[in-house]
Amino acid sequence: MATKEGSNAHLNTPTRLTGAEIMWATLTGEGVDTVFGYPGGAILPAYDALRKFPIRHVLVRHEQSAAHMADGYARASGKVGVAIATSGPGATNLITGIATAMLDSIPMVCITGNVSSKILGTDAFQEVDITGITLPVTKHNFLVTKSEDVAQALRHAFQIARSGRPGPVLVDITKDAQQGTAIFDFEAAKPKPYRPHPMLSVKDTALGEAAELIRNAKKPVILAGHGVIESGAMEQVRTLAERAQIPVALTLLGLGGFPASHPLNLGMMGMHGEAWVNHAIQEADLLIACGMRFDDRVTGKLTDYALKAKKIHIEIDPSEINKNVKVDVALIGDLRQVLEDLLPRVGGRDGAAWLKTIDASKGAVAVRDIKNLPDSGHLYAAHVMHDLWRITGGNAIVVTDVGQHQMWEAQYYHHEHPRTLVTSGGLGTMGFALPAAIGAKFGSPGKDVWVVAGDGGFQMTAAELATIVQEKIKINIAIINNGYLGMVRQWQEFFYEKNYQSTPLVSPDFVKLADAHGIPGCAVRTRAEVAEAVEQARTTNGPFLLNFMVEKEDSVYPMIPAGSALHEMLRRPGHRAKDPLEETAGE
């Protein structure tokens, strides 16, 4: 039997172990040192065996958080995150977190216990068909009913999670499979080499066509998505951009994939992207889409999207090709590899005229940028984000929740490096930030981790404050407190005649809430206090919570209303007036 000290011996010599031990031994073999979970009857044999293995278990306060932590761990580290839950309610609590990872292609393995195989399907106590329930929100899932299948299923799960387009995999292990014994042979449990998607295709002729389009383009734009980070193609994208002098627009999940400070960086595209970015896309004669999927938040109204542009789509998932936007050249493969193949065919280009046109449209916008305006005495989230960025030197990992603050973060925190923004883009899951930040801290312990959450979303998973304390980790928390479910209020303001139905929000005193957990904190009410508060949080040993009492009815601008074309954007009201804040600063 394995001991904590000699725990890796069984990786080399086949040994008889219980299914529960095999589970941990396999995780160890896969390089796992931290898991996020919550025990219960059906997973108890596994928990009982944990003490023999060099794996740190982080006890969460709700299984949804376990999934978000595994997700945050994966996003920050690039490694597979692991979440564990018991059967029934433990398993169903994972689902939102699994779906979040699925929509953002995050490699994750979730392990659930289930009732004994003999009573599967009988509605036994705490039995749910979790493989059935999670089928549409996992990349794949397994039901394991025999001890001898545990290692193989888990190893296969890791392979699937991290191969091709990554995604979450669930492994449901019955209690008897955990209790029974089998010979553990790590090497023998190795899965067959991963089968690449048979429709991957990077033909020479297509590479040639792509190079030709790039050569002839007058107004090209690179659209850089999450795939840049997932495939590690930062260098290749940069080389392409620099060599051919092509500006780069980023999706929300692409932020960090191309340095924000780079002269060719345009910024974020889409619904809350800056005007010049979306204009550039609408005016472009060539779009080079790199590891992005033309999500509706990025394209706006499809029939009006980038009509003048030819499109090159470099993408690892063949089912994404021509799904939303018809493309002229598809290069279906791993982005990094495809760019390596493409780059030798791409020569220098003179992009000056096009870059100058884009630059001209930037100037006007900067004037009306809220952060360049004189202090009106009101605290705006933009100020908070700007100062947070300045003081952390853009080097922190920022983990956002979902809503207005998320967009302000994306607009005003300038990400230089990949994996420094952790955010739920595809599913837009409120409650994500705090647990994902805990996961991110474990995934990247050397980095400062900041939670940026709204007053609404923070309350969805606020119980994880206790986890921070129990695990003794340093997390900085910035709550952007506007007294509203702000993003929904904004939609009500714009599209529902300011009928603020169910969006005003009463919250506890977050500083006191933190205090109840033994976490220090303070409230911030003016722009002048922001920098100092951020510095105090940063330099405090241990976690710290900042409650930023921001302007209540501010909105995120620009905004492209859902279903409108990219150029039909709403601007901050009164931007032509003397004081652009007049209309939003209000009461």
């Binding site: 794949h140 048979p198 090709i321 493309v327």
Partner: protein
């Protein structure tokens, strides 16, 4: 348009749910689905027919391939292929009407596979329209048809054809041999039309 996909899938519990669930997710109705053993141990072969836009074919095929248990998918949209369906039809007969049915079965090249004093069972294999033709004629006498059981369509490409995926996996039985015939053009589009 009508799409026909032929897929090789692992012969494991739940695999059919995964396939069916994909179509449910895309809100596409499955017109017919047949599954059975293939020439390869551990792999089932299925023929799935559905109605979807012409452009949907690529995405359906690509999505099917994303299922871990799906080994090969062939989109038989326009390829020359043989499609067959099997029907069992039980009809009520009287001593008087029996010979009339016998004649009908003869004309349609069907077979009688069960016979009692009150009923008989017809087995018929053919293309959909032929089976429908027989059923139509049988329906002329109200109440005559007691039961119909149809297999759904099974499809196989004509000619010597092995997909690149299956070829890479090696022969099923001894299939492989020469690759002289009109193998599928690797089915890997670079720009998808």
């Amino acid at each position: 348009m009508l799409h026909t996909f032929v897929a090789y899938v692992e012969d494991l519990p739940g695999v059919l749910t995964r396939v069916a669930s994909l179509f449910r997710r895309l809100n596409i109705n499955i017109n017919s689905l047949t599954v059975g053993r293939s020439e390869r141990p551990g792999l089932s072969r299925l023929t799935l027919v559905c109605e979807a836009s012409a452009e949907a074919g690529h995405r359906i095929q690509a999505s099917l391939f994303k299922l871990e248990n799906v080994v090969d998918v062939d989109d038989i949209a326009h390829a020359p292929a043989v499609t067959r369906e099997l029907a069992l039809i039980k009809v009520a007969v009287t001593p008087q009407s029996r010979s009339q049915i016998f004649d009908l079965v003869e004309v349609f090249r069907a077979r009688i596979v069960d016979l009692t004093s009150e009923s008989l069972m017809i087995e018929m294999t053919g293309v959909e329209s032929k089976i429908e033709g027989l059923i139509e004629v049988l329906r002329e006498d109200e109440g005559r048809i007691l039961e119909i059981c149809r297999s759904g369509k099974m499809t196989m490409r004509r000619g010597h054809h092995v997909s690149s995926v299956l070829r890479a996996m090696g022969a099923g039985e001894e299939a492989e041999a020469s690759n002289g015939g009109a193998a599928r053009e690797e089915g890997l589009p670079s720009t998808i039309e």
